[in-house]
Symmetry: C2
Subunit: 342 residues, 2 copies
């Protein structure tokens, strides 16, 4: 995308400068756009005319077009990597840079993130958290910073652009798969209850079990924070239950928690899938290399991030953009699930 330049308060055109310098309009345009394939002499002469005429580059506009900021409240794992990778793929097609900001903790960005963003003035931002306050929303809007919300943890406001996966359906797919295999004593390690995506997975999961006349035992639902460490901790709690109460299958809520459950099973000496079936959610790049390869619900994180990035670009270019995109999830059957042993 060419950088925009224009004369402020003067009516100096590219043709005027070309005439005064004896360079072509194309060369003048290249100088204005800081391109490198022009001679130092051309640069100097064009700039001399610009300086003499008081021509001022639209540097703010210029900076606007340069980068999109991905704001994480926590940039901490392979999940975040997939998001950046997807944003990078889309942005690079438009010659737009991706910057990364990490602000605050997992659920709440730091107080000043919105004014920080305004100060840096990106083309726009992809927000990887939600709970946007009215004040923050106004601050971004007022300063023409276009944003989209990736995987909103709360209900997105109608005016917000957002991308998420169909978490509820993904939860259903996990439950149906385990029910179809014949499991009855099924546990779930949820993500943080404050996150909408986590709640949707849990509710879809429980609803699908009910459809199959499996009553979900609330004692087998445990809350994690979507990390490997919480998967291990909650997995140990579940697997150390007396044998007749112990689940034969665990829906781990996400792939990182599934890695923790694998480690819990290893520590207590249970084999996956013979003694315990495990289902994840995400399908991270490492999940097909887990031992055994993880059966999981795929959500297309890179594609989602690409769409969130494209939303920002479209809005900045005053082009049409969908507002609320929900991508489908699907079951990827690998080797961590099997019929329960009798």
């Amino acid at each position: 995308m060419a950088q925009q330049t224009s004369a402020h308060n003067q009516h100096l055109t590219l043709a005027d400068i070309a005439r005064q310098t004896n360079y072509s309009i194309s060369t003048v345009s290249k100088v204005l756009n800081d391109q490198s394939d022009i001679s130092p002499e051309a640069k100097e002469r064009v700039n001399a005319v610009l300086t003499a005429s008081g021509y001022r580059r639209k540097s703010r506009q210029h900076r606007h077009q340069e980068f999109i900021d991905i704001v994480f409240s926590s940039f901490s794992n392979l999940w975040a990597f997939e998001v950046v990778k997807g944003a990078l793929n889309t942005a690079s097609q438009h010659d737009i840079r991706i910057t990364i900001t990490e602000s605050g903790d997992r659920n709440h960005p730091a107080e000043n993130w919105a004014s920080d963003l305004v100060r840096r003035h990106p083309l726009g931002a992809v927000l990887v958290f939600s709970h946007l306050s009215t004040r923050e929303r106004e601050e971004l809007d007022k300063n023409d910073i276009f944003y989209s919300i990736f995987d909103p943890s709360g209900e997105p406001e109608p005016q917000d652009f957002s991308v998420r996966a169909d978490n509820w359906n993904g939860g259903m797919l996990a439950a149906r798969h385990l029910a179809d295999l014949g499991h009855q004593r099924i546990a779930m390690i949820t993500g943080p209850e404050v996150m909408l995506s986590a709640r949707a997975r849990t509710e879809g999961f429980i609803a699908a079990l009910a459809d199959r006349n499996i009553s979900f035992n609330p004692a087998l639902k445990r809350e994690g924070d979507f990390t490997m460490v919480s998967g291990l901790r909650e997995g140990l709690e579940l697997l150390n239950l007396p044998a007749q109460e112990r689940p034969t299958a665990i829906f781990a809520g996400n792939d990182l928690q599934a890695m923790g459950v694998y480690e819990a099973a290893r520590q207590v000496g249970l084999r996956i899938p013979q003694d315990l079936s495990v289902v994840g959610f995400d399908d991270l790049q490492t999940s097909s290399f887990m031992n055994p390869p993880l059966t999981t619900i795929s959500q297309p994180l890179q594609q989602m991030a690409g769409i969130a990035t494209q939303m920002v670009i479209n809005r900045a270019n005053h082009e049409h953009s969908d507002m609320h995109v929900v991508l489908p999830t699907s079951l990827i059957e690998r080797e961590s699930t099997a019929r329960p042993q009798n």
Copy 2:
């Protein structure tokens, strides 16, 4: 870090503008620095004076101070994540942005990366590849783009700033650990031979085996490309050898290749560590959650990236910086290695 502004060709001071607008010097400074906590009226009046006087913001300087670009030839896995995380931690302490560029393929950046970088004009760049040509080096130098080289794949030039881990010693540590356990038939899956870090690991490994009077069988050395997929492919080649030739231990070259070797062992029905010992290199965040937890050589990727970033900042600030930093590697013993069975 406050954004620098200054008058070009005019001698208009903050005090002059304050006098003409009846705002305080502090308010004028805030307008110049694009801060958000000032009234639209103040902004408008200050800008009017600026426009009338031909005051031009030093936007290039401003952009210079804003970001450091991390240039990857391949931004593709958890290893890259660790590098970004480390750079982000250091840069954010200086209120400097991190941008990511992916250019080219694993070993070679695309033709035009250096001119692209010049066009964007970051404060500097951390280059996560090497083979910098003389022309590229000159282009960066000429344009005052400070750079450091992360984990140089070739021998760094004396004038280049670089950070790497002690790969050679790491290779020795892996070999000594396996020799101490009593292994004799030991294999290695190397990284790409064109990468200095890969060669150093291999050579340190073979040297340490020789110290222990273990002659390394060249048929048990296979070249990978540092991905999970190549670890699986080369692992299968090694583990499908006849039982009396099959290695009892594999040094996998890095943790991703170790994940591939785990999968190869699973596919051929060998248990880790009972039937096969595996040692990785890197200590990625997932490695302690592999099944079983991976014994590996730790290289402090985040710390290395932090140092590479600090080098750029120090050079840009004309402060002292070390030129060639080599960080130690260490053995992290977990559960993927054991004495060979007889």
